[in-house]
């Protein structure tokens, strides 16, 4: 099985894992299947100091696979939600989560779409922890389907703070806010431009810049050193396939074109 070339899902997992490179001994929170696998990859390879949970209140000594597991993980500490809140407000956390909408400044929406705040056309998850997360520590996002309905000129509700200067009132502390990276099924994007607008940093193998732009509802900046997203190493593939996602749940989220 490990002779099989990397799938798109596996390339995306490693691109997600790269979000945490260099973060040190902080809580890596991962919401969703591919982010969870990605946090495990990072923790077990190039970011061994990361703290990861079992998806509930236990910090685990070894990352757990997604889905059912046969043995109870070894606990290394306790992380109930109240400690998650304390940890995130203290900044010792980097979350990788999803979003229904993202705009050019990295403002994100998981709350609702359309209508008015009191009467949305379509209720989504609600604000959840997005406002506190985004103003307190680095946040990255995983978007399994890169398309214009997601990458919009203006998000309907700003649940996660972006770099849009109009949203930041005088005196509000911006120093802890960072939208680190957005990984999609087509590319890796960041906000390392003078205006902090979205920039293509690497294209997944076989994807063109034109394809990415055509599926984005606003003009994209492009990194001068635009590259191809790196493929998983053999070690990473073994971890993904045998340890972290042995039942292949990653394939339900993103498939090869």
């Amino acid at each position: 099985m490990d002779d099989m070339p990397p799938t798109l899902a596996e390339t995306c997992i490693v691109a997600c894992a790269e979000s945490w490179r260099g973060d040190g001994e902080i809580l890596a929170s991962a919401i969703g299947v591919i982010p969870r696998i990605a946090a495990g990859v990072a923790r077990m390879t190039f970011a061994p100091d990361l703290l990861v949970t079992d998806g509930e209140a236990t910090l685990v000594a070894t990352p757990v696979p997604v889905g059912e597991r046969e043995t109870a993980p070894v606990a290394e500490s306790w992380m109930p939600f109240r400690r998650v809140f304390d940890t995130l407000w203290s900044g010792r956390r980097h979350v990788l989560m999803g979003a229904a909408q993202v705009d050019r400044y990295g403002s994100t929406n998981i709350a609702s779409v359309g209508g008015t705040p009191q009467h949305p056309t379509r209720q989504l998850l609600g604000m959840r922890g997005a406002p506190g997360n985004t103003i307190s520590h680095a946040c990255s996002f995983w978007i399994p389907s890169h398309r214009e309905r997601v990458f919009v000129e203006r998000v309907d509700v700003v649940s996660g703070a972006g770099y849009d200067p109009a949203m930041w009132d005088a005196g509000v502390n911006r120093s802890f806010h960072e939208v680190r990276r957005i990984v999609t099924n087509m590319a890796v994007l960041d906000f390392l431009t003078p205006q902090r607008t979205m920039r293509v940093r690497s294209l997944h193998p076989g994807v063109t810049l034109e394809q990415v732009q055509a599926n984005t509802g606003f003009p994209l900046d492009v990194a001068e050193d635009l590259t191809v997203t790196r493929l998983p190493t053999d070690e990473e593939l073994v971890l993904i396939r045998e340890l972290l996602d042995p039942t292949g749940r990653r394939n339900a989220e993103v498939r090869d074109a």
């Binding site: 209140a57 809140f85 056309t121 506190g132």
Partner: protein, 290 residues
């Protein structure tokens, strides 16, 4: 002091228009037997404050909710409660908060403070959609502008725990206390349902001191309710009943909800437990893996 009461006696304490905080988190350790009792009662026009799960959806479907204060409403295994979604898309009055802001508001109420400062909510639509939530400027040299999260005061808090004694000392044996103590501190009247009422000395046998989340000074009434969190989980005793949540989540249209109500809400809680498969079935609902 004996604070034990029946769920009917508890519900008789509730009044129309009250602000009720509900403990637990999503589909985890929700006081569902009390929620069902509210659904069966004549109480109405409630303001509900919670980290929501099927408690919110069920109360919305039963027409009990006039106003909702929430950070999310999720069934965990199903990302969004469809009854809640339907109510919101029909214009249910609500205040949507960041999860941490809600904790802060409850904590402020518990400490009798008008507000607590935070950065959560700034630079997002939480702030813009809620003009009643003000900012405050730090009086210190940093001069930072912070969000002043107002106290969220509750008339009543209801929570579910594993064990309690008759005086109201409560023990949570699962891995997460959620914010149940914050809800109780923020409320004028605090009611607990529990899997078992036990003699006080048994609490120490069941777990270490740190599992004794609520002391009797924070509890006004105790209802014994075995499987009282069903269909949500009550770790380590039983997990989320995914099959039942799917049945509940599918009963959104009026006819389907009426049928759900007829089957599960029309009788007593003993009738409910029988209808969902009886104790033998409930004891076998496996622990939930997240």
């Amino acid at each position: 002091m004996d604070k034990t009461l029946t769920s009917q006696e508890l519900i008789a304490e509730l009044r129309d228009g009250m602000v009720i905080g509900i403990g637990g988190w999503g589909a985890r350790r929700k006081p569902m037997s009390l929620v069902r009792e509210i659904c069966r009662s004549s109480v109405r026009d409630l303001t509900i404050v919670t980290y929501g799960g099927p408690d919110v959806g069920m109360l919305c479907a039963a027409g009990k909710v006039a106003h909702l204060v929430f950070g999310f409403v999720s069934l965990d295994v199903i990302p969004l409660d469809p009854h809640f979604r339907r109510a919101r898309e029909a214009g249910l009055s609500s205040v949507e908060l960041d999860e941490g802001m809600l904790q802060w508001g409850l904590y402020a109420a518990g400490l009798r403070l008008p507000f607590l400062p935070t950065r959560a909510g700034l630079a997002t639509d939480v702030q813009r959609h809620n003009p009643q939530i003000s900012t405050i400027t730090s009086p210190y040299p940093d001069g930072e502008v912070l969000l002043a999260m107002p106290a969220v005061e509750l008339d009543v808090a209801i929570v579910h725990v594993n064990e309690a004694d008759a005086a109201g000392n409560c023990q949570v044996l699962g891995p997460d206390p959620y914010f149940d103590d914050r809800f109780c501190m923020a409320a004028k009247r605090r009611y607990v349902s529990c899997e078992r009422i036990v003699p006080t000395e048994q609490l120490s046998d069941s777990g270490p001191l740190q599992t004794m989340l609520l002391h009797r000074g924070l509890v006004d009434g105790v209802v014994e309710s075995r499987f009282g969190a069903h269909p949500t989980s009550c770790a380590p005793e039983y997990g989320i009943d995914v099959a039942h949540l799917n049945e509940y989540a599918a009963a959104v249209e009026p006819d389907a909800w009426a049928a759900y109500g007829e089957r599960y809400l029309s009788g007593s809680d003993a009738d409910y437990l029988a209808a969902v498969g009886g104790e033998d079935h409930l004891e076998r609902v496996p622990a939930t893996t997240f």
